[in-house]
Symmetry: C2
């Protein structure tokens, strides 16, 4: 079955494509690890064709709506940022990309920037657009965990301000490449170790770089196992983030947008602070945002 259009989330490390049928139905979805970080400008079209070229109709043209890092300066084509305060950029602000293959009609959705403090997002604005489809009157704060966790203040359908924390990337680097790697591999997650680490980092954020080394020392001296050690590593970094993001979440209605262990960790840590928090599964949020962009494009064409 030939797709009506393609929804594409093209991040730094991964490429994800949904083949879309009539009425927003998903005919198929495909993934590859040919993220923007691995590609030069002229490799984007071949990478996309390698993944979905077999599904494209002969003689027809398929709209391709792209969000994420493919729109960065080092990406497929630069889609200049919208600036806060602003609604998530509509398809009207997208950049049309000329392709060699006539079957593709590519549009890249812009990201959002903030001048002070300097900050940027690419991809999350489309998740936010998807979130607002379901809850257009939401007034509060979105927390989008990931490699670079975003805290986003939403009001009246607009992104008012946002802040990015490198927590996920710090965790990955420390878990895999630091001296702590000897102490945090394997074992089961320990919720108590996580909770007390969040508490420690929130009450004394400045000592985090020392508390990190103490994970190693406690493993050596007290035989603390990898399960509680890894939970403590996560808790220290998320606690540091929650302390820094307090102006965002304190007294606000919070939605953690995500799934799995990482979303649960943020949810639990916020709930332990007495915050008003709910988790909204992030899976499909980007797709919903891309679908809205496509529908707007189609209506404009009619």
């Amino acid at each position: 079955m030939t797709p009506d259009w393609l929804a594409v989330d093209w991040g730094t490390s991964h490429l994800r494509v949904w083949l879309m049928g009539p009425d927003g139905a998903v005919l198929d979805q495909r993934r590859s690890d040919r993220g923007m970080g691995h590609l030069s400008r002229d490799q984007f079209e071949p990478a996309l064709l390698a993944l979905v070229g077999d599904a494209l109709p002969d003689g027809g043209t398929v709209p391709v709506i792209v969000c994420g890092m493919a729109g960065s300066r080092q990406g497929w084509a630069e889609a200049p940022y919208a600036t806060v305060p602003c609604a998530p950029p509509s398809i009207g602000a997208a950049v049309a990309v000329t392709t060699a293959d006539p079957r593709l009609s590519v549009f890249i959705v812009p990201g959002i920037k903030q001048v002070s403090p300097p900050d940027v997002m690419r991809g999350e604005e489309t998740q936010i657009a998807g979130f607002l489809v379901d809850d257009p009157g939401f007034d509060g704060v979105l927390c989008l965990p990931g490699t670079h966790c975003k805290w986003v203040h939403i009001s009246a359908g607009e992104v008012v301000s946002f802040r990015t924390f490198m927590t996920g990337e710090l965790f990955a680097l420390l878990e895999q490449a630091s001296v702590l790697r000897h102490s945090v591999k394997g074992g089961d997650w320990e919720a108590d170790a996580f909770a007390s680490a969040v508490e420690d980092a929130m009450s004394r954020p400045a000592t985090v770089a020392a508390e990190l080394f103490s994970i190693r020392a406690a493993a050596l001296l007290e035989g603390v196992g990898p399960g509680p050690s890894r939970a403590r590593l996560s808790g220290l970094l998320i606690g540091l983030e929650l302390a820094g993001a307090r102006p965002y979440w304190l007294g606000q209605d919070i939605r953690v947008v995500g799934a799995g262990g990482i979303a649960a960790a943020y949810h639990d840590a916020l709930a332990a602070q007495g915050a008003s928090v709910a988790t909204v599964t992030g899976d499909g949020m980007a797709l919903r945002g891309l679908r809205t962009a496509y529908e707007t494009l189609r209506e404009a064409a009619q």
Copy 2:
């Protein structure tokens, strides 16, 4: 010329040997990258012989005094930690290692541990011993920058307490392997960018994980160059550390033990806080500690 003894500083990543003559003269020094992290237990003796075997006397036996990670559980032989409060461990606490080559008589000096908060050092205790040779009455705080920076409270010739910060390792990981790597390579050091970053992190330590991402965003949005970006990365991490180590240095007499840019950075940051600080070149400090150990050993043998 045949050495009287060998002084060895065997860390995680490097092996450093001084060939010592009469009256503490250094005949030669040699280095290799065969650090403890790359070796299994039975590879230590061959690694040492590969580096200095040619200089050993036929038929004689040469004392070898070793400090550092070679004494860890994964090292050549475990030299159990001394526990604070304590003087830097003397040669009497060293572990004698049996070797296949009869020309070697190896002693590994123990490290120091602290139960609460859990912390360990291996190698720095010998630098501290060397420092105390020159300044036996020192009462104050040593700051030993490095991959894992140590803050050490010294009084009456003893290590009273200490704390390790992972600042150097965090800097290396973020500089080389994180998204910031695109923004911090090349350019000249900018002292102003460093100083303002230290100030920012000390006054708002909790926001460091967000300020780190802002380095990337400021490079993208404002064209901030790699020189000031790298200085800001360093300043944020050192500022976080100084905020966490404040109970160590506030109101104390401080000696930064080290050399080069990293020692200067700590010195400048502390001086900007109005702290009483001097820098003592760390080069030779470990050697001085090892020499004291050897002299004690020789006197005991007489």
